[in-house]
Symmetry: C2
């Protein structure tokens, strides 16, 4: 629990993160290297993320399905960029039911190949298109350096897969899903994101073009928080995904894929958290409100618990996710710290004086001390809480946006650029050459995060080589 | 789709099932032997099952979490019955990231062991109990003879795991979850089930006692449709799951586990389906209603589509899951067959005459032909549809119950018993000896399905050996 203080973020951001994840009971290390156990508090957060995304996917016509976790090794080899990207990271099942398998099975690192194989069977004509499908599952990539939520051998995600009759439709789908991720990040997670294109070197293994949403973390580093890939006809050709068009000609499909993973929980932690622990955006928080009763005598306790129970019932009836902390043998102060560590956006304190005055204390997680406290009547508590949750949701977004703006630089030259990427994002002209990108990475450890889609056309000179450039790109150190 | 007729159930129940699963687009064979692809229609059915169960789990205080799919081989070996039961069925990862692993990893066949390992860390005192946890995931058991939904190498399920301070609490939890499965089966899936105890030979590997819900399929065979295990202190001792009680003494916990899988979809198919295809209970059906517009001329089509769109909108607003079949180039008759194959409980037909009279035709899936048709006004369509869906839900349950009653026998002697298990369930006295159970199995291929919990105490003689018996048991051939 919250007996010991966390290291501050300024002291040791990395250790602050690791301890917070464990002590907020979001996740724990598994007995297998690099795997994680997502504890109920963390998993409920993920369930809320799932619902927020799934609602958007279904509203745009997507349906969920399930494909096997095992893929024949030979499938991975059919698309040449795909195998280059994923072969080094595979977990391989070689024994089943006590027998050595004739063909080893790969535990899916992603499902483009096995889906391609099925679509080749299912899709006959233009009438079968588009196929708009999504899977909620876990995948395995054999990472060497792991960190809870951010990079684990097994992680949970959704992988969307679609097939279309034309290149234009596939591109529109790719951008639509990028926009859905951005909308979710901004409106549900209170995280401002930059929508952009990835460079050739950073794109998905097998894609024509990868788009991503990028966010700035509390230490100035970037986190890629969701990706959307236009796969062109690469997988369609590798797996013979074809359809008969209206004129009776056989055509290859155009496919896309897009994913958002439990890594996003890492973004929520690192964008909103403070030195006391986690701060969760109200729309995604497992508990939006915690009620802490305060009483010394049995008589006080009876009156306080009666009021607390009544307030809880009203909030539950209004669909507000509320926890009444009835634990014995713990001081209110201990409970305050505990729920602050766990990031509950709003605390309601009810003591004997509140009972007498028919009030409660509201304490905002995002504004410590007196500044975040207010006294409200028990009458109209639902409206007051609902309004306060909205206020907190907006305040978290505004603060995160202000932080990004304060930590995004427009360097005039490479010297300024090098300083900028030590602190945050550098938004700079880039000529588009892989050599400049690689040199910057070698010299500064900053990578090209994305070429923002929202930029007004302009011209300038590449921050590295000085050659003419037509676009700006975001560079930063990244998770 | 539905161009060719299915074999009838009387002709070939097995082939009827296999073809139905493929043609209703519930699932498909995967490229890996014994694995399945659950297609969107089948997965939506599973999502509806998930929601119906998850609601019940949460209402009884359970929370969801996620544990890794990989378990160290050594964990499986810690509980002696567990390893005997599961060792022959394991899939083993021996290579990760291109390297041979020092300790092979097992793909979870079930998660008692890895959960036990974590609980030993997490649980300190009686204050931490009970732990009421559930996982939605997939598990792998290397089965040799597989069948879509009923027995696959990888299958989807929920596995509940709980830890308690006392034996009494663990037993109460075991029965509570059995009751939740029965309530779900009866009230959501319209499947009558028998709640009962399993014999020693049929219980879960590592349990003190296994309870199950058993249902009769359309061919008279039994399907175990959900199980709840009282694990006693077996896993607590193997993994040292201990707590300090109020007096400060170290005690072993008492644990339970319980699961219901995609196998249940097999039960829905085999209980309700008929020779035309699937029949889905309205509470779980992906589409509760399909609207088929009928029009010959463009003018008719415009009027019919306007009415169909209006009816759809009203049903959607009332949270009824509805599909408007707008496909071109298919006859109404083709569409009728197609949706009958896919088991949509209620069809709404709208043609030019209906538009003129402001009516629609309602056609029940469970009553073919004229008997199942009625004409209702477009005014009040929502109430008429909602009522009809309830009627269908109840009719499916009643029919399934009548079928079970007609196919359950109370044999007077072993000769009658042998005839009974050729046709359905035999409810017979059993002395409790494993030898009688095994002899019956060897001679008749029928297994002891369960000792029903709901039986009035009585005495008789074992149907096999004639020795005194105090309980009756259900025997049947089983999937």
């Amino acid at each position: 629990m919250a007996e010991m203080k966390l290291p501050t973020r300024a002291e040791d951001f990395n250790e602050w993160y690791n301890q917070l994840v464990l002590r907020a009971e979001l996740a724990d290390y598994a007995p297998v290297r690099g795997c994680m156990i997502i504890r109920p508090y963390g998993w409920t957060l993920w369930e809320n993320i799932q619902q927020a995304l799934d609602r958007r996917f279904k509203a745009t016509g997507h349906v969920n399905a399930a494909f096997p976790m095992f893929i024949p090794r030979s499938f991975i080899e059919k698309e040449k960029h795909h195998v280059e990207g994923f072969a080094p990271e595979l977990a391989v099942v070689t024994i089943g039911g006590g027998e050595v398998l004739a063909e080893p099975l790969v535990v899916r690192p992603t499902s483009e190949t096995i889906i391609g194989h099925s679509w080749a069977k299912w899709i006959k004509s233009y009438r079968d298109l588009p196929i708009l499908m999504n899977l909620w599952n876990s995948v395995v990539r054999w990472e060497l350096r792991t960190k809870l939520f951010l990079r684990t051998l097994e992680f949970y995600w959704q992988e969307g897969h679609t097939a279309h009759a034309t290149a234009e439709e596939a591109q529109a789908e790719t951008i639509q899903m990028l926009d859905i991720y951005a909308d979710f990040a901004v409106n549900d997670a209170a995280i401002p994101v930059i929508r952009g294109r990835k460079s050739e070197s950073e794109k998905f293994a097998g894609a024509d073009m990868t788009y991503a949403i990028e966010a700035i973390m509390g230490d100035g580093k970037a986190l890629q928080s969701g990706t959307s890939h236009n796969l062109g006809q690469n997988f369609a050709k590798a797996f013979e995904i074809q359809y008969l068009d209206k004129e009776g000609n056989l055509q290859f499909c155009w496919t896309t894929s897009w994913g958002l993973s439990t890594r996003f929980i890492g973004a929520i932690i690192m964008v909103h958290g403070d030195d006391q622990g986690l701060i969760l955006p109200p729309k995604l928080a497992p508990f939006q409100v915690v009620i802490v009763p305060i009483a010394k005598t049995d008589e006080e306790r009876a009156a306080v618990m009666e009021a607390a129970g009544r307030v809880r019932a009203e909030l539950v009836a209004a669909q507000i996710r509320v926890k009444l902390d009835e634990r014995d043998g713990m001081t209110p102060g201990f409970k305050f710290n505990d729920w602050e560590m766990r990031g509950v956006p709003l605390r309601i304190e009810i003591g004997p004086k509140d009972v007498a005055k028919n009030t409660v204390v509201l304490a905002r997680r995002d504004k410590p001390g007196k500044e975040g406290k207010s006294f409200v009547s028990q009458q109209g508590i639902v409206a007051a809480v609902a309004e306060m949750l909205e206020t907190i949701q907006k305040a978290l977004y505004d603060r995160a946006l202000a932080f990004r703006e304060a930590n995004t630089w427009e360097p005039k030259d490479y010297e300024e650029f090098k300083k900028a990427v030590e602190k945050g994002f550098a938004n700079a002209y880039w000529c588009g050459s892989e050599r400049c990108e690689q040199s910057i990475k070698d010299e500064t450890k900053a990578t090209m995060r994305c070429i923002p889609l929202d930029q007004t056309p302009s011209e300038g000179r590449c921050i590295f080589c000085g050659q003419p450039a037509k676009e700006k790109a975001i560079f930063a150190k990244a998770y």
